[in-house]
Each structure stands twice: as structure tokens, then as C-alpha cells.
Symmetry: C2
Subunit: 182 residues, 2 copies
Amino acid sequence: MIPWKTIKKKLIHTQPPWLTVEQHEIELPGGRKIPDWPWIITPDYVNIVAQTRESDFLFFLQTKYGLEGESLALIGGFVEPGEMPRDAARRELLEETGYEASEWIDLGRYLVDPNRGIAHGNFFLALQAQKIVDPTADDLEEQQMIRLTLKEMKAAMDRGDFKVLAWAACVALALRNDRLSR
Amino acid sequence: MIPWKTIKKKLIHTQPPWLTVEQHEIELPGGRKIPDWPWIITPDYVNIVAQTRESDFLFFLQTKYGLEGESLALIGGFVEPGEMPRDAARRELLEETGYEASEWIDLGRYLVDPNRGIAHGNFFLALQAQKIVDPTADDLEEQQMIRLTLKEMKAAMDRGDFKVLAWAACVALALRNDRLSR
């Protein structure tokens, strides 16, 4: 299959590092042209399902500007420029919870918007996590740490308590991993 | 927890129905104001894991402008204005494959970007699907229908062959459903 060709890019709006909007002139395989395909540049992010040495899982109950009400939320955040996703995951786990994990399992890297976007979500399962410092996160949202057992995490997942696509995906991927599913 | 308050909205760019960008003036619970929080309005979408009466699952091998190379892809598309997500799912299944399913299971509705976006992904498992007409989809991308067994779908999932977040999430959610997991 032949990929679409980018002929030209026009900058519409930029607010780095959060959002850049472009319009692309695109040529389809048959020669048809689209003059103004919207293209959205937002940062990559990481989400982490972290299990402690005591076998419970670390989440937050929190608000988000885009959410109605509260949601069970995952540890995570944006990948800094030049940072590897796994380093971002370690950093976010430490900043948001004060925990460090001795074992990291990569759950995959997924494109968020296949039509118009460049951002990828990078997902991890962190095992044998233990608290080494106090959390230092400076996130703007109110959040409250919640500990769930494996059974409680599965029940929350199946009730739809993780209301954000990346959070539900990361938990579902973690639950498919041998380390939690066996 | 107190939600953030929207004080003012400023229109930055609009290209309906695909993309509208706004800047919101926001007041945080402590009184701090953010003058220019980026806000992205894109349409809701549906994705469907469809199992035929012959027990195989329907996917596509296809390209997307945002993807490098090909990906295993799900049936799906945008929800039309005023349309219910389940109706959009039935319509997309019929348009893209010519199949109709007698049993529909709701796998949930998830917010795509909790910080800056309004779009929700709506996921379904369609069972007992049978072909009733020829597909009529007018999607711009090249796509080729692929049939997978349950075992092949699980293997493709675990290899990362569904490269888009919503597609991997929808398959992972379908695999957690009693109808496929037992």
C-alpha cells in the first residue's frame, strides 16, 4: 500500500510544548489532492500501572479539565523533549508517588490519533515498587492516592472507573501481561 | 474535589467537522488563573470488534496518514452529528464490511484527551455478524479485509500489530468480555 504524500505544511497555531496545529497539503495515491488536512502536534505521554512489594496497585482519584466528575487515574505525564519513554515513566512514578520500581515491563507504544496527530502513548507495568522519597509532583490537578488489590483493579476496569482511553488501555494491557494474568 | 472553572473561550481555528481549536481562560480551585489553556474539539468515534457466525473476527490491513507503514485496523469511524454511538457502530460495520450483527455488547465510552479534548471513543463487540450487502465505504485510505481467529487476534494484540491506541484498547476490552474470555 502506498502512503499519502505530504506536499506542503502551513502553520496555523503554535503554543509549544502543548499544541501546534498545521494544515498539510496531501497527495493521495491516485493523484487526488487535499489542500487543508488538519494536523495536530501534541507531546508523547507515558502511563504506568505500578504494583508495590505489598502486591497492591497505585492509582489516583482525580479531576481533569476535560472530565466530568472524578476518575480513577494512572500515574503518568508527558515525555520531556529528548527523554526516552521509559525514563519518563521512572521519573513520573518517582515524582507523583515517591516510589521506585525494580522491574519494568514495556506494554507498548501506540499512536493516539491515526488521522491527524503525532502523539504516542507509551505504557508500562512497574513491579516491586517501594517508596523511597516523598512525592514532588507539581501537577495542577487535585489528586489523592488510591491503593487497589488486583481484584479491585479488575472490577474498577470492568465498571468503567478509568474514564480516559489511555488509562483504560494501560490497565487492560497490564492485565493481559503474563505477570498479572497467570 | 472542585472542578476547574472556564471563565472565557476564544476561538483560534475552526475547520468543522474535523477540528476546532480554542483557548480557554481557566480558574483553578485556589484562585490561580491560566489565560490560554489549549482546547481541541474533534468528533467522537466508534470502533468495533466484529465476530462472524463462522467465529472469525473482521479487521483491515491499512494505511493511515499518521502511521508509518501498515497496521491491523478496526472497523470504525466518526459519529455523525446527532447520531447515537451504537447507531454509528452499526452503520460503520455495514458500510465498511457489508455485515450486520445480531448481538451488540457495549465495551465503554472513554475520553481521548483528558487535558485538552472533548472527543470520546465508543467501543463495541458485535457478535453473530453475517454479510448482507457489499461494502460501500468511501474512506480515503487503502484497506484490505483480514479475518483472524480468536487465537490469531490475541497473538496480533500481544505483538503490537494494532498500532493505534483506540484499536488496541478496543481489542483488549473485547478480550476482557465474558463472551470472548470464557
